[in-house]
Symmetry: none
């Protein structure tokens, strides 16, 4: 495909406003500040910060940003056009927008006749006045205006003349951007292409200073394709959110849009040197909003450049374009060699290399690692989702694994009194530390929680770092379904320490033992990060509690 000649496309991020409409996502002022600064560093030129006045949090946010201003990006407040049959100058809603002290403001208005007559119950003419009056007033107050045409594509389909009148009014009254919104997210690229082309042809008749923007939603899984199509038809601003967060099925995902535009189509969005910040930015935002990152997200997902089979792996190492559409480093991601049932020696070598260990193909230890993996996988272990367990296994075979502690045994006791809904779980654990045996007991609201608590209690005085570890995810599944509750179970435990996350695996016919194996391996791996070369048992860091 021919690359565009570095046409600049302005990215308009609305993670902090439309993104926060996602069910289950809520942002504190501090979260919003962190994200705004991160987006600024990514080189995003416009950041929609919220709707000051719709809630007190957003007024406070704009005020707080003033204390530590963004370096490059324009922060933009968002608001509706004035209400019917009033005047913009008397519209209280617009006061906090002006008070936000920004250069730009975004105003949204109705494009779809049905929404005017049924939704806000006014006349089609009055809606045009609302758009025009609001924009003119904001212009008179020195603001530059972006106009979001809500439901534009649906409106155009029902009443094209009226939809066109709304944006024509906005342009003639001084809006510099006419952003065509697919609010319900059901439009198709072919429609977007047709309609944006029509607007492209008319816009210079309306104003010498107005440009087209695009704002899409993902209800038909077309948000990214629609935005790209709009750009190819003449739009020069693209609105979207990091990780595609947004109401219902989300907004256009900037983490896919930016590399699609820049790497594939040759448009100029954020500067080539900044593109490698895309994956870290995506993960940073998902951490701040406390949502698990989507491992399978295009470009930035953990699995986006993961390879499984043997032939596959050797081909990728010879010429990465044989099985990758771009090089992962371009967007700050990593190629990953997945260890699985189909693994060959080349996978093990490649995987060890990514972990900083050079293995020799002919070294018997390499073959031993592979043999152990295959043996454990036939027992039901799975390393593709448990890289930390793979590292521990590799270290063990190579003689590099440290014995941080030794669990001698455990007991778990659970009681349930029906009706009272009281479950007590009590775990006792015996841990060896050098010559010493530590016996600990703890309660939990389930047997695994009790076991985890007892183990941490036993270890915390030796390894205070464990205080920072947290267990972030825990999954269990049965392996051979047809022998019922006696079947083997596999537990996957994800742990974190604030900076890194790692996953470990355990397998047993006893769900508690499988969980315990994974929990123990999770602690071991976490300690390995802190003490890569420790060879001896530690002394007590604190004196033990009495």
């Amino acid at each position: 495909m021919t690359k565009a000649l570095s046409t600049p496309i302005l990215i308009y991020d609305t993670t902090l406003r439309d993104g926060s409409q996602r069910e289950g996502l809520s942002l504190s002022i501090q979260d919003k500040l962190c994200i705004a600064h991160k987006l600024d560093q990514l080189g995003v030129p416009f950041i929609e910060g919220g709707w000051p006045g719709a809630n007190p949090k957003d007024i406070e946010f704009f005020w707080q940003v003033g204390k530590n201003p963004l370096q490059q990006a324009q922060l933009v407040p968002f608001c509706s056009t004035r209400r019917p049959f009033s005047q913009a100058i008397n519209e209280p809603m617009l006061e906090p927008i002006l008070a936000a002290g920004t250069t730009w403001v975004t105003i949204f208005g109705k494009s779809w006749d049905l929404h005017v007559t049924e939704g806000i119950k006014t006349s089609l003419d009055e809606n045009l006045s609302m758009i025009g009056d609001t924009i003119e007033y904001l212009r008179s107050q020195g603001k530059r205006v972006i106009y979001d045409a809500e439901h534009w594509f649906d409106g155009y389909k029902q009443n094209p003349d009226y939809a066109l009148q709304t944006i024509k009014t906005a342009a003639q009254c001084g809006a510099e951007w006419l952003v065509l919104c697919d609010t319900n997210g059901g439009t198709f690229p072919q429609e977007v292409s047709q309609v944006v082309t029509i607007v492209s042809k008319s816009i210079s008749d309306w104003s010498s200073n107005a440009h087209i923007g695009i704002h899409t939603h993902n209800d038909g899984e077309m948000a990214v394709a629609n935005a790209i199509t709009a750009v190819m038809a003449g739009a020069t601003m693209v609105q979207g959110t990091i990780n595609g967060y947004g109401e219902r099925c989300g907004n256009a995902n900037l983490c896919s849009l930016i590399p699609n535009l820049q790497l594939k189509l040759g448009y100029n969005c954020i500067g080539e040197n900044l593109l490698s910040q895309l994956t870290p930015t995506s993960r940073f935002v998902s951490e701040v909003v406390n949502l698990a990152p989507d491992d399978h997200a295009p470009y930035v997902g953990r699995s986006a450049f993961a390879h499984k089979g043997g032939i596959h792996v050797s081909a990728v190492e010879r010429n990465s374009l044989t099985y990758e559409h771009i090089q992962p480093e371009q967007v700050g991601n990593l190629r990953r060699i997945v260890i699985s049932e189909q693994a060959g020696v080349s996978n093990v070598l490649a995987k060890a290399k990514t972990l900083g260990i050079e293995l020799d193909k002919h070294d018997p230890k390499t073959k031993e690692i592979l043999r152990r993996i295959k043996e454990l996988e036939s027992e039901g272990y799975q390393f593709e989702a448990a890289e930390a367990s793979f590292v521990l296994l590799m270290y063990e075979v190579l003689g590099l694994k440290q014995q941080f502690f030794e669990v001698q045994g455990f007991r778990v006791h659970c009681d349930l009194a029906e009706g009272k809904n009281i479950t007590n779980s009590l775990a006792t654990i015996k841990v060896g530390m050098g010559g010493e045996n530590i016996l600990e007991v703890a309660e939990g609201n389930g047997p695994v929680a009790a076991l985890d608590a007892a183990l941490r209690k036993a270890l915390l005085n030796f390894y205070p770092q464990i205080g920072e570890f947290e267990l972030t995810d825990y999954k269990v599944r049965i392996l051979n379904g047809n022998v019922g509750t006696s079947a083997k179970t596999r537990a996957l435990v994800e742990s974190g320490n604030g900076q890194a996350r790692w996953t470990t695996v355990g397998v047993s016919t006893n769900i508690l033992e499988a969980s315990y194996q994974a929990v123990v391996a999770g602690l071991e791996y976490g300690l390995l990060i802190h003490f890569p070369f420790r060879k001896t048992y530690p002394k007590l860091y604190n004196s033990r509690r009495s």
Copy 2:
């Protein structure tokens, strides 16, 4: 957009083959059988079952399907073309494909010159022979052939003449479908449109009996848009997976593609009456593979039609198209009104009806069922994949539920002695039967097994039918990942009695209690099948063992 005049588009599902390449997804034979039958019920005409011979599991799967054949769908095995410089008739790889006993087979071959010379290290001519010879041999054995042209779009971009020669060879040698694959997932709709149009124009010169298929991946977040674009340019088969599962960023998502094609563009895919099975199918598959469903997935996600109240809600209720691109019921999903909680009566009515119970919309009991479901779902219960629990709940509200037994309480005790790898689990349980209390104890190789054994031991003398029940699958998932092992867990238990299978659900912060709830409900439902109208506690069937 003009709707196509009901052109049939053949859906080819590859969840069981390409979908299982997703990192972290692994399928047992039982899982594959369940999914194949569910897809058959959805009306999907082609189901790719796996690569028999690449692993013993897939040979076994095709054999097992033969024992309980699909009703409508064609099950298709997948295999490579023969190796260089041999003959298809002598190719051992093709034997298990023929032995699978299907009408159709899918063969994939190389389209990209680079992959021929660098990957399989043979000549461009020999690759054409491999394609032709393999297809002709399979045709001679009575098979109908689908040809997957791997890396077709990338190959075409590098060497269009050669790429065209590969599919021309396939068509001339008898392949009925030429499936153009965007294997690396980086192609754009505009390119797909151009290239498919070119193939469309040539195909009738090659064969009177060949048609175009499309197989896309999501590395540029374009898989669905690319597949749709290909259809609009002449493709009449679409390959994809349920929930878009697949390697790296996944395959084209059939849960978006099918409604996009059928509801938006008017193509005929699975029959309008089956479209409402889409959401249940999506959730069923995600439960079987034990991956959390994507709440924000287009069409089938839990949040796909969620509205937040106020004007939005009343507008939606007056005219749903104001804020929804389709009606959720069309794809078996629900509108969710986050505040008012009024949604779903129709869903309960519809679901009850499928289970043979006619409820009245205005009956307070119907509202009570809905209230209980919403309450339980907010606690983490899920009834999509646990219909037996839904039936028990409905029977309870309708006053039809029988008290077969009453668990008064249980205790579980587990010991692990490290190194010796001996785990003993001991469960005691107290069950009330009318006035009598039965106290039983049993061992198991895990706490859930011990609990299950104790419960069965207590009940078997009252309900000898329980001897036929078996627990066929058992899955556990954490619900709120960020509180570690203390998080809520959901257990799904599948039970069977030789004729029927049913699934029940339990939720608790204690994994044992969640499992116990599901196990108990599984026994209750099984007894319900035997004693639909029993109202009293049974007498002993056998005298108790001493």
